[in-house]
């Protein structure tokens, strides 16, 4: 096998050897799991279309049901490719390890470049096909009607053109974005901006994914009223490409007009990708090699000032300082944790957006029409996800083999670590959230807004304390078995918790907002709950204060423990 093919194979394998997705696990298993996971949703949607009697030649029948399904296929392809690019953000170019291993070998720089590019194209192509294969095969058979397999084959071509070009558009846009950042920014600025770009991309993709059902249901009014959103949201262009090319051309002028945007978008993203990837590659290579020898920068003035303030006023004990700063540094610098945070943030935005506004349907109207009434539930949603999301992030280990340092430096007062974790969620989660939401609340609801926000934060503090009572880990230092609690049970707990926290509490607040005595009673109950939880936590720590560093896996054989 030639050097080019060997390199391409090596780089292809490295895409699956990704710390973000799975640590210390087999590459082949990662690949199979990822491909299987991506392929399945297309099959479900195709089967869901069966009982509706969906037909491509009657796309506007049954309330645009078929178009909504086609929309799913298009968005899914685009979102999957977006996720792939975000997860592989640091692997789009060869990394430090690649250069250390490959540079000493007698291989030309061009061979390495073409090997990496070929691996990237094959990898992206594999996921692009994988994300669409079920929809292409089953979706087209289901909707082909009496035309049989011949018509299904024609539909495959039409669907492939829309879905594959949509996915390729997203992949090339993300690659071009990183190439642009590499070309336009200094090495230092790139190091700072790149993780935030990756996080923002993740959040946008999550929002897009969560909004898909809402937008799918709104397709008819959006198209019938020629909403301006259609021109700004790329999935509509590729959906239009699909509908416009259906055999018999059943679509109207709006679809035809928007369909023209899709090939233009692909051409622009391809040009941007080609221009920025080629130039960015060499620039990136130089930086990686130079970066091996260069020294880092001291923390910025703002960060240093905050650390000093926190150490002096907020974190009186050394153990609290140790854990608090360890959490900050890990959350900021570990790609895995950053992406987890971005996911939680994306979910929070996606769940909040529908409550605080509507899509601008009519021409000339804004894309998003704000409705202040939605502010009732928005802070509760944000508080719930902030507390639950950050608490969940603490379970994800970071460089587990280094946790010996916590074990050998163990001392009395393990509770301090937990208190530091709680302070971190309050200071770095609830406080910034409140600072962002408060002006909006005051602007639209006056003093009621302040009460409203404190209502949500008080509940958030109770929830946070409840979640940490039996938490016996220093964040990120304990092994974690994601499958230990069943996904179904976890989802049920989350949904029930969410409904109770958001909907029930929003109703309670509506009823009590204008009754000062009831409000006072509410805050008193919260204060009592916090005191009670604090007492319970102290009590539980007196019984068992051992911090754990190794989570016990589920036993291979579960006994009934009878007698």
């Amino acid at each position: 096998m030639g050097a080019f093919l060997l390199l391409a194979r090596h780089f292809f394998g490295r895409f699956f050897d990704n710390d973000i997705v799975a640590q210390d696990s087999d590459m082949r298993t990662n690949a199979i799991q990822a491909l299987g996971f991506v392929a399945v949703p297309g099959m479900f949607v195709a089967f869901a279309m069966l009982p509706t009697g969906a037909r491509f030649d009657h796309p506007f029948a049954n309330g645009w049901n078929v178009i909504a399904s086609y929309y799913f296929f298009v968005v899914y392809s685009m979102v999957v490719m977006g996720f792939v690019m975000v997860f592989e953000w640091d692997a789009l170019f060869p990394d430090r390890r690649d250069y250390i291993v490959i540079t000493p070998l007698p291989l030309g720089e061009r061979t390495i470049f073409w090997g990496k590019l070929a691996a990237l194209i094959v990898f992206l192509g594999l996921f692009l096909i994988d994300a669409n294969i079920m929809g292409l095969v089953l979706g087209t058979i289901v909707t082909s009607g009496p035309g049989g397999l011949t018509m299904a084959a024609k539909l495959v071509v039409v669907q492939a053109a829309a879905c594959l070009s949509g996915g390729a558009f997203v992949a090339m846009t993300f690659a071009a974005l990183q190439g642009l950042l590499i070309n336009c920014l200094t090495a230092r600025a790139f190091r700072r901006v790149s993780p935030w770009a990756q996080m923002a991309s993740m959040a946008i993709l999550i929002v897009a994914l969560f909004l898909t059902p809402i937008l799918a249901m709104a397709l008819r009014p959006l198209f019938e009223q020629h909403s301006p959103l259609l021109r700004w949201y790329p999935p509509f262009w590729f959906l239009s490409l699909y509908i416009d090319n259906l055999p018999g051309h059943p679509a109207g002028t709006m679809f035809h007009e928007l369909a023209g945007l899709a090939p233009r978008a692909v051409a622009i993203s391809a040009t941007a990708f080609a221009a920025t990837y080629f130039t960015g590659y060499w620039r990136h290579a130089r930086r990686v090699m130079d970066g091996m020898e260069s020294s880092g920068d001291p923390p910025g003035r703002l960060r240093a000032a905050f650390d000093r303030f926190a150490n002096t006023h907020l974190l009186p004990h050394p153990l609290e300082r140790a854990t608090f700063h360890f959490i900050s540094n890990t959350m900021l610098r570990s790609a895995r944790h950053r992406l987890f945070l971005a996911t939680v943030g994306g979910v929070a935005i996606a769940m909040t957006l529908p409550t605080i506004g509507w899509l601008g349907l009519k021409p000339g109207s804004p894309l998003f029409v704000f409705t202040p009434a939605g502010l009732l539930t928005a802070p509760l949603i944000l508080t719930f996800l902030c507390v639950v999301g950050l608490r969940a992030a603490f379970n994800l280990p970071a460089e587990l083999r280094a946790n010996w340092v916590f074990q050998t430096a163990e001392s009395e007062g393990g509770m301090r670590h937990i208190r530091a974790a709680r302070k971190w969620i309050v200071i770095m989660g609830l406080l910034p959230m409140s600072i962002v939401v408060l002006p909006v609340e005051i602007a639209f609801r006056g003093w009621e807004g302040v009460v409203h926000l404190t209502f949500a934060v008080a509940l958030g503090l109770v929830l946070l304390n409840a979640l940490l009572i039996w938490f016996r880990k220093i964040p990120f230092t304990c092994s974690y078995f994601p499958g230990k609690m069943s996904m179904g049970a976890m989802a049920l707990v989350l949904v029930v918790g969410f409904v109770l926290f958001v909907l029930a509490m929003a109703r309670l607040e509506t009823n009590w907002m204008h009754h000062p005595f009831k409000l006072a009673a509410f805050y008193s109950v919260c204060a009592a709950a916090l005191a009670g939880l604090r007492w319970l936590e102290d009590h539980e720590f007196r019984i068992d204060d051992v911090l754990i560093y190794e989570d016990e896996p589920e036993p291979a054989v579960r006994t009934l423990e009878l007698g």
């Binding site: 430090r96 970066g291 091996m292 260069s294 020294s295 880092g296 920068d297 001291p298 923390p299 150490n311 004990h317 050394p318 153990l319 300082r321 140790a322 700063h325 360890f326 540094n329 890990t330 610098r333 570990s334 970071a398 460089e399 083999r401 280094a402 010996w404 340092v405 916590f406 074990q407 050998t408 430096a409 163990e410 001392s411 009395e412």
Partner: protein, 255 residues
């Protein structure tokens, strides 16, 4: 003084450390020697409180360490065999983390961390993430972190790993100096020449059992052998390494 009595660790009924007994005295550097897989690092992990022994006792100043494990850990400085550190932290942040975990006052953590990084030639890289450090630099961070809290007992597991010649010489001098001021030092290595230079006493381990435990000079005199390498060959009856070396050379030359 660190006293190890009948220390045993079994995995699936196989003893990897088998009734090991030795003492480490204050003001002395005691070498703990043995080939790879002899049980050195398992012993050390038990001494550092990372592993639970199957049986036996570890006494620190006459008290079983498990009676007050936290008190013992407070007096312990440990450099592990493999440089597993948090790669996303900078050298300075790592030392700050250790100092805070050791509950040192904040100003003392900053002062000592800065000084140690300067003296170990890491000052220029104090804001660089450890992921960008060489193996030797990581090792120096580990050495600094083990010394930050002025421990009474130092357990150094292969501390020369990855160090350049200057750093290795510095470490030798530092170990001698620490012994002079009364620290109790256990030095684990499989490099016999180095151990011979650094240590005053040695404990030799072979297949989980102690095969020698004495002062270096007395061992040489007793066995009428010139150095530790020869003593080890005699005691451990290692395989014929000369023959193996010749076989390797033959494989390399094969067409």
């Amino acid at each position: 003084m660190l006293d190890v009595r009948g220390l045993t660790k079994k995995y699936r009924n196989r003893a990897v450390v088998d009734h090991v007994s030795f003492s480490v005295f204050p003001g002395q550097v005691t070498g703990y020697l043995g080939p790879n897989g002899s049980g050195k690092s398992t012993t050390v992990k038990m001494l550092a409180g990372l592993l639970q022994p199957t049986s036996g006792q570890i006494l620190w100043n006459g008290s079983e360490i498990r009676q007050d494990l936290i008190g013992f850990k407070r007096r312990l400085g440990y450099v592990p065999e493999e440089a597993f550190v948090y790669p996303h932290l900078t050298g300075l942040e790592y030392l700050q983390l250790i100092g805070r975990l050791r509950q040192l006052p904040e100003d003392r953590v900053d002062r000592k961390a800065g000084e140690l990084l300067r003296l170990l030639w890491l000052h220029e890289h104090r804001y660089t993430p450890i992921s960008a450090y060489s193996k030797g630099m990581k090792q120096r961070v580990l050495i600094a972190s083990a010394l930050l809290h002025d421990p009474d007992l130092l357990i150094l597991d292969e501390p020369l790993s990855g160090l350049d010649i200057t750093s290795a010489l510095l470490l030798h001098e530092l170990i001698a100096e620490l012994a002079r001021i009364g620290k109790t030092i256990l030095y684990i290595s499989h490099v016999l020449e180095v151990t011979e230079k650094v240590c005053s006493r040695v404990v030799m381990l072979y297949r989980g059992q102690v095969v020698a435990n004495d002062e270096v000079g007395r061992l040489r005199d007793l066995m009428h052998l010139p150095n530790l390498e020869e003593i080890f060959r005699q005691l451990a009856k290692e395989e014929d390494v000369g023959a193996t070396a010749r076989q390797i050379a033959a494989v390399i030359r094969e067409a």
